[in-house]
């Protein structure tokens, strides 16, 4: 067993909650991958005579207003929600950290320019930005991903910038220079691995936000549209029925959404512990 595997096992054993979060994340990934193949009912098949039935053994989560099985829809929705959030966070992370690294390293005018850009982005509320992009480029899932990515970019840029400028004067950076590393190599191979641990927590928190963002946007009709199952849409559709007593239509998708975000949040600490070598004994 390599040192890394041993360390991962140690972290998980130390912290059962982290282990639980990892298990939850694993489950979400599995459902995203094979969900559509294992669901009992076709998520798109409507059967209006079966509409709005409360949870039963056949339909553990009940049926919605078009008679579709909510459980199947919730499971299938996992794939698209995960896709959106992972894609958005990945884009955010890559571009945000690059901007932050560059700004933090070079300082001066470059840093100020990055700072202005980040400030501008932060001034936009997500919905305004998303609507703007949709209005300009059309209502598609890809555009929603871009909007979410842009909105979350400042978190990474600022964190990367702070961590980089804090370490810029460190001995090991000067040592790297004396060892023949140019600026690019220092940023990528010497500094970046060191700023990664705090960014890990940020990534996982962002995954949670990204899902909420996607859900929120589809709630108002941007991005994913019916009949595609997505947790946000399902909550939106279900919201209409709460007052009339059909609580299950909104509750189950909402709960799963909440658990997914919860998982991601807990994941961050565990990931950081794994990635940061200082926590290795």
């Amino acid at each position: 067993m390599s040192a890394t595997t041993r360390h991962i096992r140690y972290v998980l054993a130390e912290n059962p909650v982290t282990a639980l979060a990892f298990a939850g994340f694993a489950l979400l990934i599995i459902l995203a991958l094979i969900g559509p193949d294992i669901v009992p009912f076709d998520p798109l098949a409507s059967a209006t005579d079966n509409a709005l039935h409360p949870p039963t053994w056949t339909h553990p989560f009940g049926t919605d207003h078009l008679g579709r099985d909510i459980l199947s829809r919730v499971v299938v929705a996992t794939r698209i929600d995960m896709q959106i959030s992972i894609a958005a966070v990945a884009l955010s992370f890559v571009f945000g950290s690059t901007l932050g690294l560059v700004g933090g390293w070079y300082g001066g005018a470059i840093d100020r320019a990055v700072g202005r850009l980040v400030d501008t982005i932060m001034a936009f509320p997500l919905f305004v930005l998303a609507m703007g992009i949709v209005a300009a480029l059309g209502n598609s899932v890809a555009n929603i991903v871009y909007a979410t990515a842009i909105i979350n970019l400042p978190f990474y840029a600022r964190m990367a910038r702070t961590e980089t400028s804090a370490r810029r004067e460190a001995g090991f950076v000067e040592a790297a220079r004396l060892s023949g590393n140019g600026d690019g190599r220092i940023l990528l191979f010497h500094l970046f691995p060191n700023i990664l641990p705090p960014m890990m927590v940020q990534i996982s928190l962002n995954l949670g936000y990204a899902i909420l963002n996607a859900a929120g946007l589809s709630f108002i009709g941007l991005g994913v549209r019916p009949p595609t199952p997505e947790w946000g849409i399902m909550v939106a559709e279900g919201a209409n029925y709460i007052v009339s007593g059909e609580w299950w239509v909104a509750l189950f998708p909402g709960t799963v959404l909440m658990l997914a975000v919860f998982c991601f949040n807990l994941l961050g600490d565990g990931l950081r512990d794994i990635v940061d070598p200082r926590r290795r004994t």
Binding site: A170, G171, E174, L178, G180, N181, P277
Partner: protein
């Protein structure tokens, strides 16, 4: 024999608002191949700036640096990385904890300059060279897989030394390499450094404020104060026949094991400011226990006192 390092009139100035800070002001010296030269001075004397110019991470404002006959001070620091001299001038840092990348194992730390400056390597040849270096500094091979926080202070210091020796430098600058170490480990490291110097023929520039250690390891010593070299000479000349009042004050302040509070040369007042200093007044004037009017009117220039002993003081050799 030509000097390995020949520094002439080296200056470095930093703008501070509308004024200028003279961190290094007209420093000239040379280091012969295989020689160990100590550089002593207190905080604010400019030795860190001088060192950074010599390792070429900083550009001089004025003056020349000749390494093995070639001028290296003119091309900008950014380009120095790609010249062959990069491998020939290396440094051992003061704080072993700060100077090792926390994400690199000891092996990675030592291998990095080898990969960047020497080569080509195969996996085996690289490992062989890293093991060879570890052996040279007395670092047990099993420790190579550890991260810095899993190593003791002495072990980290050895990693730093092995890393610096990897590219086969001809000049090694050691910045207080043992100040963070316990006395018992220090002795071992100092002996190792001495032995390595004689075996590999590397020159040392040993920067330290611990004069006892400098005396042990170095052939010659230079004393720096507020950007200028105030006294240089062999260790015997400077330590036993200190001519500059600052050197005397420094020597008298070292606590000796004989327990006596010897003849202390006490310095009064605050050091002069290195910002926009007067070009006519001796930098030490005002804090110096001795002094005359001419000390404020003419900047003292280095004068020969015989042998390799030079001092920049109008009252050189005068009793405090």
């Amino acid at each position: 024999m030509t000097a390995l390092l020949d520094v002439a009139g080296l200056c470095r100035r930093f703008p501070v608002g509308k004024r200028t800070l003279h961190a290094v002001d007209g420093v000239s010296f040379d280091i012969a191949p295989g020689e160990a030269v100590g550089l002593v001075g207190e905080s604010g004397c400019g030795k860190s700036t001088l060192v950074r110019m010599l390792t070429r991470v900083l550009d001089p404002s004025e003056g020349s640096i000749h390494f093995d006959g070639r001028e290296i001070g003119q091309s900008p620091a950014a380009r120095f990385t790609r010249t062959p001299e990069r491998a020939l001038i290396q440094m051992v840092f003061q704080d072993p904890t700060d100077s090792l990348n926390p994400r690199f194992t000891a092996f990675d730390c030592i291998a990095d300059p080898l990969l960047r400056l020497k080569g080509p390597w195969t996996r085996d040849s690289l490992a062989a060279r890293v093991h060879e270096l570890a052996g040279m500094v007395g670092l047990p091979v099993p420790l190579l897989g550890r991260f810095p926080h899993q190593l003791s202070g002495g072990q980290k210091a050895r990693v730093g030394i092995a890393r610096a020796l990897g590219p086969e430098p001809r000049l090694l600058i050691l910045d207080e390499p043992t100040s963070a170490l316990d006395v018992s480990v220090q002795a071992v490291v100092l002996r190792m450094l001495d032995e390595l110097r004689h075996r590999l023929g590397v020159s040392y520039l040993f920067v330290s404020h611990d004069l006892n250690v400098v005396r042990l390891l170095c052939d010659r010593v230079m004393v720096m104060y507020l950007g200028k070299l105030v006294e240089t000479g062999t260790v015997a000349e400077v330590f036993d026949h200190a001519a500059h009042p600052y050197t005397r004050a420094l020597l008298s302040a070292i606590p000796g094991l004989d327990g006596t509070l010897g003849e202390r040369v006490r310095l009064t007042g605050e050091p002069r400011s290195p910002i926009d200093p007067s070009p006519n007044a001796c930098r030490f004037h005002g804090r110096c226990p001795i002094g005359e009017d001419r000390c404020a009117e003419h900047m003292p220039v280095p004068q020969d006192l015989g042998g390799r002993h030079r001092v920049a003081c109008h009252l050189a050799g005068g009793t405090p």
